[in-house]
C-alpha cells in the first residue's frame, strides 16, 4: 500500500515538469480561473441580482452549460469503453483520453450546478443521514446520485487500469465496473433529461422525445470534442493517435447527427402541425414571439451549423479530409452547445407560465463565472493528462517497475 502511495506521488511529480509552453498554458488558465473566482464571489456577495436570472427565466447560462457537459461526459465513456471490451485496437489507445474527458466534464457539471445555487453552503441538506434528500421524489436528487456515482466509477476505473497497465498485469478484475459504466453513462444523461421532462408546467420540456434527443445530440458533440482534443494531444505529446480511430469516430458522428436532426424534425412537425398553445416556445426560438426574436439568430445558426456538419460527416471523401473534419467538429460543438444550452433552457421558460416573455441574456458576471469553470475544466484535463501519459508510455519509473528490474538483474 505504502509503495502504491509513493508511486502515486512519483507520478504526481510529472505535472510540474514542462516547458514554457506548458507553464504558459497553465498560467493562462489560472488567470481565467481567477477572473471566474472574482465573478463568483461577487455573485455570492450581492446575490443573483448580478445575473440575468429572474422569476420568469429562473435557470440560465449555468444550467445550460451543465446540460451540455453531462452529454460530453456520457458520450466520452460510451465511445471509448467498448474498446476495452471488444479490443478494437485503434480506439484502445485513446481510451484514457476519453476517461479523462468524462471525469473532467463531470467535475465541471458539479461546478456549474453549484454556481447556480442561492445557498451553496447548504448543499449538505441533500446528503443522506445528515440532510433530508427528497428521494425518490425529486429528480434532482437522482441526478446528484448518478453524477457522483459516475465520477466515482470512472475515477476508479481510470486509476486502476492505469496502474495495472503500468505494472504489466491484467486489469480484468475491474471488468464488471467497466461494463457497469456503460448503462451508467446512459443513465446520467437520461436522468438529466427527466429532470426537465417531468414538469407539466413546461410543455417545451414535457415531451417524451426529450431523453432520446439528449442522447443523440450528446453523441454528436462529445465525439466531435474528442476528435479535436485527440489531435491536440497527438501534436503536443508523444502519443500517437491512429487515423483509423478518428475516422471511426467521424463515421459515428454522421449517424448520430442524422438521428439528432431527425428527432428535432419530429418535434417541429408535431408542434407546428398541431398548432396548439404549446407551439409558443418553439415559435419563440425560431421566429420570435410578440416581436421578441433575439433567440432566433442563435437557433438558426445552430441549425445551419448542424446541417452543414451532417453533410461533411456523411460523405466519406469530405470527412476524411482533415481540415474539413475539423471544421465539421467545430460546427457541431457550437451547434449542439447552442441547441442544448440556450435552445433548451430558455424556451422552457419562455413564455413564462403566466405568458410573459422575459428576454434572457447572461451578464458579464455569469460569463465570468462560466469561463472560469471552463478554464478549471481545461486545467483538470491538462493535469490529468500530464499525470497519465508518462505513466502510460513508460517514461516515468514507478517503484514497482524499479523493483522488478532489480529482481530481473
Amino acid at each position: 500500500m505504502l509503495g502504491k502511495i509513493r508511486n502515486f506521488f512519483i507520478a504526481m511529480k510529472n505535472i510540474f515538469h514542462g516547458g514554457p509552453l506548458y507553464y504558459g498554458w497553465i498560467g493562462f488558465l489560472l488567470v481565467i480561473m481567477l477572473i471566474g473566482l472574482l465573478a463568483y464571489s461577487f455573485q455570492l456577495k450581492h446575490g443573483f441580482i448580478v445575473t440575468s436570472i429572474r422569476d420568469e427565466v429562473s435557470w440560465g447560462f449555468y444550467i445550460a452549460n451543465f446540460t451540455f457537459l453531462v452529454g460530453v461526459a456520457a458520450a466520452a465513456v460510451l465511445l471509448v469503453v467498448p474498446a476495452y471490451i471488444y479490443h478494437f485496437a485503434p480506439v484502445k489507445e485513446i481510451v484514457f483520453l476519453g476517461e479523462i474527458m468524462a471525469i473532467t466534464a463531470i467535475c465541471m457539471c458539479i461546478m456549474f450546478v453549484t454556481a447556480d445555487l442561492g445557498h451553496p453552503e447548504r448543499l449538505w441538506h441533500m446528503a443522506p443521514f445528515v440532510g433530508r434528500p427528497n428521494f425518490p421524489s425529486s429528480l434532482l436528487v437522482w441526478d446528484v446520485l448518478v453524477l457522483n456515482g459516475y465520477l466515482f466509477i470512472n475515477l476508479t476505473i481510470f486509476l486502476f487500469v492505469l496502474y495495472k497497465i503500468y505494472e504489466g498485469k491484467s486489469y480484468s478484475a475491474i471488468m464488471p465496473l467497466i461494463i457497469l459504466s456503460i448503462p451508467w453513462a446512459v443513465s446520467i444523461h437520461t436522468v438529466t433529461a427527466f429532470l426537465y421532462n417531468g414538469l407539466p408546467a413546461r410543455p417545451f420540456w414535457n415531451a417524451g422525445i426529450l431523453a432520446p434527443r439528449f442522447l443523440a445530440s450528446a453523441f454528436c458533440s462529445g465525439p466531435a470534442m474528442m476528435i479535436l482534443v485527440f489531435q491536440l494531444v497527438a501534436k503536443f505529446t508523444k502519443i500517437n493517435i491512429d487515423v483509423k480511430a478518428i475516422q471511426k469516430v467521424a463515421e459515428l458522428i454522421a449517424y448520430t447527427m442524422a438521428l439528432n436532426l431527425f428527432l428535432l424534425g419530429c418535434e417541429v412537425f408535431k408542434e407546428f402541425y398541431s398548432n396548439s398553445v404549446h407551439l409558443a416556445p418553439l415559435q419563440y426560438m425560431y421566429f420570435g414571439l410578440h416581436g421578441h426574436n433575439s433567440l432566433a439568430p442563435l437557433m438558426w445558426t445552430a441549425l445551419i451549423f448542424n446541417v452543414t456538419a451532417l453533410v461533411i460527416f456523411l460523405i466519406p471523401a469530405l470527412r476524411n479530409h482533415i481540415t474539413l473534419l475539423n471544421i465539421g467538429c467545430f460546427l457541431i460543438i457550437i451547434g449542439v452547445y447552442i441547441e442544448k444550452g440556450f435552445g433548451l433552457v430558455i424556451p422552457g421558460f419562455t413564455p413564462s407560465t403566466l405568458g410573459e416573455i422575459y428576454v434572457y441574456w447572461p451578464t458579464k458576471i455569469e460569463l465570468g463565472v462560466t469561463i472560469g469553470i471552463w478554464a478549471t475544466g481545461a486545467l483538470i484535463y491538462t493535469l490529468l493528462l500530464k499525470f497519465t501519459l508518462p505513466v502510460y508510455t513508460g517514461e516515468t519509473h514507478l517503484q514497482a517497475q524499479a523493483k522488478r528490474k532489480e529482481a530481473d538483474a
Partner: protein, 301 residues
Amino acid sequence: MEKKSKNEKEINRRGFMKTAALGVAGLAAQGCSGNINFDRFFQSHFKQMDKEELLSTLKKLEAEYSATYGRQFVVKATKPMEGTLFGYGLDLSRCIGCRKCVYACVEENNQIRDPQIHWISVMRNKKGDKWIDLENATRYYDPKEVPEDGYFYIPIGCQMCEQSPCTKVCPVQATWKEADGIVVVDYDWCIGCRYCMAACPYGARHFNLAQPQIPKDEINTNTHYLGNRPRPKGVVEKCTFCVQRTREGKYPACAEICPVGARKFGNLLDPDSEIRYLIEHKRVFRLKEDMNTQPKFYYFF
C-alpha cells in the same frame, strides 16, 4: 550584480503572488461571509426540531430580527388547526384590477422592495374572443382608472395545489404541504436551486435576488417561521395564505383589503363555510386543470 537583480525580481514576483493570493482569498471570504450566516449553518429542518430546539430557534430569530430592524419581533410557529383545510375563492365578476391586494400582501408579508417581489400577479385580460388567454394578458398595466373598458382581471398567486408539483421536485424537502393545505417553505433549509420555480405552473414562486432591505417603519413584526419572517437572499418564497393570520382565525391580508369583496376565504372541511357555499352554488373553475395539480384556489363568476 546580475544575479542580485534576478533575486530581487524573484522576491518581487513572490511578493506579488502572495499579495494576489491573499487578495483573492480575502475577496472570496468576503463573498462567502456576505452570503453565509454561520450562526444558522447547523440549524435543523423545521420538521426535525423538537419543542426545545424550535423555541430556542424562534428566540434566536426574534433577537436577530429585532437587532436588525430596531423593533421588537414576534416569530411564531403556530400549528395548523385541527379539521381545517383552507380554500380560497375569487369572484372574477367583482375584481376591478386595483391591485390593492398586491400591495397589502407586500406590507403584511415583508417582501423585498428592491427588486420587488409580488406574491400576487393581477393579469389583465381582454374581453372578447378568448376566455383566459395568459399569453396575451399582462400584469404591467397602468391606466388612470380601473376597471378599464373591455378588460377583466384575474389575480393569480399560489393555488395551494393538493398535488403540488413544487414540493414534489424540491431536492431537500425545504417546501411541503401542511396539514391545513398551505404549501410552505423553510427559508433556512432552501438551497436556492429554483427547481420548484421551474415546476410551478402558476408563477407563484419567487426568488430573493438580493438581500431584502425593508424600511424599519414598514416592517411587519408579527411573523411566522413558515410565513412572513424576514428572508435571507438566495431563497425561494411564496404566498402562505398569510399563515401568521389565518391560523389565528383572521382573514388573509389580501381578502381583508379587497374593496369590492371579490376575495373569499374559508375552511373547505366546514360545510357551512362561505367558500363551500360558493363552490356548491356558483360557476367555479380552477386554473390549468389539465395539469392535475388540484388547486384549492377557486375562481368563480
